[in-house]
């Protein structure tokens, strides 16, 4: 197996997909009802003023032409300026995207080891513990994020007062300057991810534990941690890794609820605001960047899964 060739092939595919998806995003903004003119010129603007603003924003040109010039600029690294406030889109991405990546990364760092432990434990043990954890996970996965957030706030911020209620980041700083402010957002996001990943792992661990080679390993006296880590986990992790990468990638752009509740300065809310204001360059830039992040995360997930698979073959 040539990992490099695999990565190269996947990268080329991702690039093509990125171009196609950016066009799809542009098409989506074009068919959204309305445009940014009302947001810029005001509801009460006259027809003449509207036409002026439309021309100034370049919205009077055909959509295909607008996309072509956007794509040409984007290739040079210039994603344009937002209609509202005229900030360069790249600047917004540079300040917000790292925060979102951090949030998603930390969530993964909490979720992955915990899910592995819980998945192995419940999958191998079965019985009462399994039923308890599985039911718990099921409930957790079903509760909406904002409810979990509210519960965590009520307990940790209001009642016990151990964590700040809102993630107030020092001006000019990053969330890393106030690690405490990250705790509640990460906990909230981890809860759902953990529940899903645990359920997935439990099933595949149980499957793997029932296979003949596992039986053979057991008969050879392999027990406990060694059995779990060397023989079961590599075979069981595949689907869970894929699921975790998917949710982590999606988290980067879709943690809007958590960003709102804790006032975390992520990219998801910027996207939401831009859509509401019909700020096409901002929507286009952010959405394309998020697609790129998602494709990169998926690629990483595939590489991980492939490496796991390779180990599995190696281990046999």
């Amino acid at each position: 197996m040539n990992l490099l060739a695999f990565v190269g092939r996947r990268l080329a595919g991702a690039a093509v997909l990125l171009v196609l998806l950016s066009a799809a995003i542009f098409a989506a903004t074009a068919v959204l009802p309305g445009d940014a003119v009302s947001a810029v010129a005001g509801v009460d603007a006259s027809e003449g003023q509207r036409a002026d603003v439309r021309a100034e924003l370049g919205l009077d040109r055909p959509a295909a032409e607008r996309y072509a010039s956007w794509a040409a600029d984007a290739l040079r690294g210039d994603l344009g300026r937002g209609f509202i406030g005229e900030r360069p889109v790249t600047e917004v991405l540079a300040t917000r995207l790292p925060n979102s990546l951090l949030l998603a990364g930390l969530t993964l760092a909490v979720t992955a080891p915990l899910a592995t432990l819980l998945g192995l434990w419940t999958g191998l043990r079965g019985g009462g513990a399994d039923r308890l954890v599985s039911t718990g996970a099921q409930v957790l996965a079903a509760v909406p994020e904002f409810v979990i957030a509210a519960l965590l706030i009520a307990v940790l911020a209001v009642w016990l007062e151990v964590l700040p209620r809102v993630s107030v980041i020092p001006l000019g700083g990053t969330p890393l300057d106030v690690p405490r402010a990250l705790a509640l957002p990460v906990l909230t996001l981890s809860a759902v991810g953990l529940a899903v990943a645990t359920r997935l792992l439990r099933v595949s661990v149980a499957d793997a534990a029932a296979t003949p080679y596992c039986e053979a390993a057991r008969l050879n006296g392999v027990r406990g941690v060694r059995l779990a880590a060397r023989h079961i986990l590599p075979n069981a992790a595949g689907p869970a890794v894929q699921a975790l990468t998917l949710t982590t990638g999606a988290l980067v752009g879709s943690a809007v609820v958590v960003e709102n509740v804790f006032d975390y300065p992520g990219i998801g809310r910027e996207l939401q605001l831009a859509v509401a204001a019909r700020d096409v360059p901002m929507v286009q830039g952010i959405a394309t960047a998020l697609v790129a992040v998602m494709l990169a995360v998926l690629l990483l997930g595939d590489i991980c899964a492939r490496l796991l698979g390779a180990r599995e073959r190696h281990g046999r």
Partner: protein
């Protein structure tokens, strides 16, 4: 997420022109008003205590926030600029000219209402030590405001001949009007016209400014920090510093307030505000009249049966205003009388309050042959309470025999496709606090698309005459006459005025003294 009443909307609706409160030329000669607050200097023994950094949170506009308030759409952009830059003046219904001047000493206008002379207050200094002169005002007004895309700043160009504006010495700006108006002070001193130094092209930290605070830090979508400017004209702030934060979610703003992370939370949703009512550490400070937002429904007169005045009256009689105030705003709102701009000097307060009379509404609909009519009310969560009000209105209409239903659009969509909006038969809307006649001229006169088919050249003429009338009582009479027509035959149901539900930590004071309450200023604020 709670939606902001954004400044964009304020500016667009509000571009305050006029006020019927026209001021006689005799009064004008003597207009050298000092701010009432200007005598209050901080110092030992003075109450309230000076010092400290006040932290306030607003909805904000995310990464699109900008220091260039001439092109900045979010409410926070203007709040930040008010702390940072000097203003020409603010509307002050209790003031002698209806305004309170800032960097100006006063505004004179010629007897024929064709020329305004702005007198610069001497001795106003920028942070770089230079003195503010007429050139700075001219630059801010004719170059920066003149080029702005925001309608409120365009209003200057719509009323004044900016190309012919000129400086007369260092302390006078002469501003010719395009046609005679008596209420130009209301346009210039509505709080939005802030002054920066002559030649300013870009806005950045460290640029000279003459407001109460100087900017030390700014991160779009996150917040800004200020320190007191000790050489500020008029009154030096009590506070040492100021921090303005963007916290988009209403509950999060309230949470930050109760946990002591901020001292002032702007514009909470009614439900959030209610949860704070029992908190001893926090005080609710809703904005007072006239700084109230009108929530309304527009009936489209170019769509049947709203072309029939009886149907329009029936809809106005059908609405249970008190129930809306109680259920949607928990009593913390005022009952409206189907006219915008309650509390402003030119508001027709002498008209009787319209009653809730579903029986009469039913009769009127029957007379007009519209009983059992079908109508769909379109609205969206553009400001807290809008959708809830629409739901109640539809129930009221059903009781009057109308087959009404409500359609809620996602946030941001109601106004985004304006052509579609203006063609709706029945639509939700809201009005920012601006004087009555300017509201009319901005959004209703001349068959404007947002007038929903109202086209009454007689009323338009009345309003224009009221604006050009320098006799105060005559102007009031003309203005009231115009509003009576709107009240009787108009196509707007305006049942409720709601305040901005602000809240502050116990002990904070002086924010209200800065006027222009929907965009609070902190030059006179102090902490406990």
């Amino acid at each position: 997420m709670s939606r902001q009443f954004d400044r964009r909307t304020f500016l667009r609706r509000g571009a305050a022109g006029a006020a019927a409160l026209a001021v006689g030329p005799g009064l004008l000669a003597a207009c050298s008003t000092d701010e009432p607050g200007s005598g209050r200097k901080p110092g030992p023994g003075s109450s309230p205590r000076s010092g400290g950094t006040l932290r306030a949170a607003f909805v904000g506009g995310g990464a699109s926030e900008t220091l260039d308030f001439f092109n900045g759409p979010s409410a926070l952009d203007l709040v930040r600029a008010r702390a940072w830059h000097g203003t020409l003046g603010n509307l002050d219904p209790s003031g002698p000219d209806g305004v309170r001047y800032g960097v100006l000493k006063g505004i004179d206008l010629s007897a024929d209402l064709s020329t305004y002379t702005l007198h610069v207050r001497p001795g106003v200094r920028f942070t770089d030590g230079s003195e503010l002169t007429s050139a700075d005002i001219l630059h801010s007004l004719s170059v920066l405001a003149g080029k702005s895309m925001l309608p409120v700043y365009r209003l200057a160009a719509a009323n004044f001949d900016l190309a012919r504006a000129k400086a007369d010495g260092d302390l006078k700006v002469v501003l010719p009007t395009l046609r005679p108006i008596a209420d130009g002070r209301m346009i210039l001193c509505q709080g939005n016209f802030l002054v920066v130094k002559d030649g300013t092209k870009t806005f950045r930290k460290g640029m000279p400014s003459c407001g109460p605070f100087r900017l030390t830090e700014f991160t779009a979508g996150q917040g800004s920090a200020f320190e007191r400017f000790d050489d500020h004209y008029g009154n030096v702030p009590h506070l040492d510093g100021l921090e303005l934060r963007s916290i988009a979610d209403s509950t999060a703003r309230a949470g930050a307030l109760t946990s002591g992370e901020i001292d002032f939370a702007h514009d909470l949703s009614p439900v959030t505000a209610r949860t704070l009512a029992d908190d001893a550490k926090v005080r609710l400070v809703p904005t007072k009249s006239p700084y109230l937002v009108g929530l309304s429904f527009q009936m489209n007169m170019s769509v049947e049966p709203f072309d029939d005045p009886r149907v329009r009256e029936a809809f106005k009689l059908a609405v249970d205003r008190e129930a809306m105030v109680k259920t949607v705003f928990y009593g913390d709102a005022e009952i409206g009388n189907d006219l915008p701009s309650m509390g402003f000097p030119d508001y027709a307060e002498s008209l009787p309050q319209r009653a809730h009379d579903p029986a009469r509404a039913r009769e009127l609909l029957k007379e007009a042959g519209a009983d059992g009519m079908k109508v769909r009310l379109t609205t969206g969560p553009e400001t807290p309470g809008m959708v809830e009000m629409a739901t109640l209105f539809v129930e009221d209409l059903k009781k009057a025999g109308v087959q009404a239903s409500v359609r809620e659009l996602p946030a941001g969509q109601l106004y985004a496709d304006f052509a579609t909006y203006a063609a709706l038969p029945l639509a939700g809307s809201y009005q920012m606090p601006i004087p009555a006649l300017s509201t009319y001229q901005m959004s209703t006169a001349g068959g404007s698309p947002s007038a929903f088919g109202w086209k009454e050249s007689e009323t338009d003429t009345l309003v224009a005459r009221a604006r050009a009338e320098s006799d105060r009582s005559k102007a009031k009479q003309l203005g009231t006459q115009a509003q009576r027509t709107r009240w009787e035959e108009g196509n707007q149901v305006l049942p409720v005025f709601k305040p901005n539900l602000n809240a502050q930590a116990e002990g904070v004071s002086g924010i209200r003294d800065d006027l222009f309450e929907q965009f609070p200023g902190f030059s006179q604020a102090s902490l406990a």
